[in-house]
């Protein structure tokens, strides 16, 4: 599979993402600079974390207008798989590819810690390889990860089964205390209506090798690979 990892000025998780995709999972991966207007032959795109454009104005607000994001809009419009991590999630929300917005953490603190994620549905290209009842231990590192959307949008997300991950405690209970940033409904990650674009605040790319304390993040990338492989067999058969 061919992966594209976007690079904005001040992206800082791009290399982690490339390391996981290329070295850990062994797939061809290339950086795509924010001024490029094409994603090449990419099968899936990762919008990495960081502080694109210094987080000026709002997180992701400026990156959303960069040339490469126009290509991502087209790619997503054509059904291509796009995963936004942390700042990438913020960029996708600003771009309108995902609903809602991410605002300052409830306690105004930057949170850098391991949290637990509950996967609510395996019916997506990003969660299909995650065993049911498996809690993902994945780090977060953000100051503005409080998910907000109006009530109508939230209800729609719930009704369509589009909330992919929620923050939970070590026993899988969704509690107020296990919510690190004040996100509505403990939401950590969602997908779009077509289920081909997803974003999450935690960093799965930082939890793909046991030496890093957890390899749970790998399940998300393996889901992505599984979905891509399935697509290719369908395409070949047709």
């Amino acid at each position: 599979m061919n992966f594209a990892v976007l690079q904005f000025p001040a992206s800082n998780c791009d290399q982690d993402a490339v390391h996981v995709l290329r070295d850990v999972l062994g797939h061809s991966t290339r950086y795509v600079w924010h001024k490029e207007t094409s994603l090449g032959d990419a099968d899936a795109v990762v919008v990495p974390g960081g502080f694109s454009y210094g987080d000026y104005l709002r997180c992701g607000a400026i990156a959303r207008f960069s040339p490469v994001m126009q290509a991502v809009q087209q790619f997503a419009g054509g059904g291509g798989l796009v995963l936004g991590i942390c700042n990438g999630f913020q960029v996708l929300c600003e771009a309108g590819l995902l609903p809602g917005a991410l605002i300052r953490n409830r306690d105004l603190q930057f949170h850098c810690e391991h949290i637990f994620l509950k996967t609510l549905t395996t019916d997506s290209s990003f969660t299909n390889r995650i065993p049911q009842d498996k809690l993902l231990k994945i780090p977060i590192a953000h100051g503005e990860g409080c998910y907000f959307a109006d009530e109508e949008t939230l209800n729609k997300l719930k009704a369509d089964n589009r909330i992919l991950w929620q923050y939970c405690d070590a026993h899988g209970e969704i509690t107020e205390q296990s919510n690190p940033n004040g996100s509505l409904g403990n939401i950590a990650g969602i997908c779009n209506e077509r289920r081909n674009v997803a974003g999450l605040m935690p960093h799965p790319e930082r939890a793909c090798e046991t030496i890093l304390g957890s390899a749970d993040g790998c399940l998300i990338f393996q889901s992505l690979l599984h979905a891509l492989a399935k697509r290719q067999t369908v395409a070949k058969a047709a």
Partner: protein
């Protein structure tokens, strides 16, 4: 010390009617018009140059740039802060200086932890009777334009598409 009454006079502008700009027909999520590329600053060096591994010393790089700046006209183009945002130019044939003031505040439904922190600090300092504090942003934009209404329309669009996020923020635009 100022008395609490000075603060809680119920005179916040946003409480008055007509505070919000009308937002009809512009839905950023359904904006299918061709997008222009923002922030493709022609002077910015790609970080790829750093990745490429051909390390040039800071001295050499600086000298080269410095010489170029004094001899090569291409380094003398004035920079525009936001080259490609919005369609059309603000400059008309009979342009005149204008100033736009944009106040962006969090929507009432959005939790504003910053505002809450400021409010509680004010209360700790002894300023009583503060009902709410909302921390937002203030932008001052200097521009040329012939027709105030055209400029207002363009800025209104820029506010909606870029300067504010309608999901979480309200804005107020003033032109003078």
């Amino acid at each position: 010390m100022r008395r609490a009454a000075d603060f809680a006079d119920g005179n916040r502008e946003s409480d008055k009617a007509g505070y919000q700009q009308p937002r009809v027909s512009l839905d950023r999520h359904q904006d299918t018009r061709p997008e222009h590329h923002a922030h493709s600053d022609p002077h910015r060096k790609s970080t790829k140059q750093f990745h490429a591994g051909n390390v040039t010393g800071p001295g050499r790089r600086f000298n080269r740039r410095f010489q170029a700046a004094s001899t090569n006209k291409k380094y003398w183009r004035p920079r525009r802060a936001f080259p490609n945002i919005g369609r059309g130019s603000f400059t008309g044939l009979f342009g005149s200086d204008m100033k736009a003031k944009i106040i962006i505040t969090p929507k009432k439904a959005v939790v504003d932890p910053q505002g809450k922190a400021v409010q509680s600090a004010l209360e700790h300092m002894g300023y009583n009777g503060i009902n709410a504090v909302h921390v937002g942003k203030f932008l001052e934009i200097e521009l040329d334009g012939a027709d105030k209404e055209t400029v207002r329309r363009q800025l209104d669009e820029a506010c909606h598409r870029f300067l504010s996020n309608p999901v979480i923020e309200d804005y107020k635009l003033e032109l003078e």
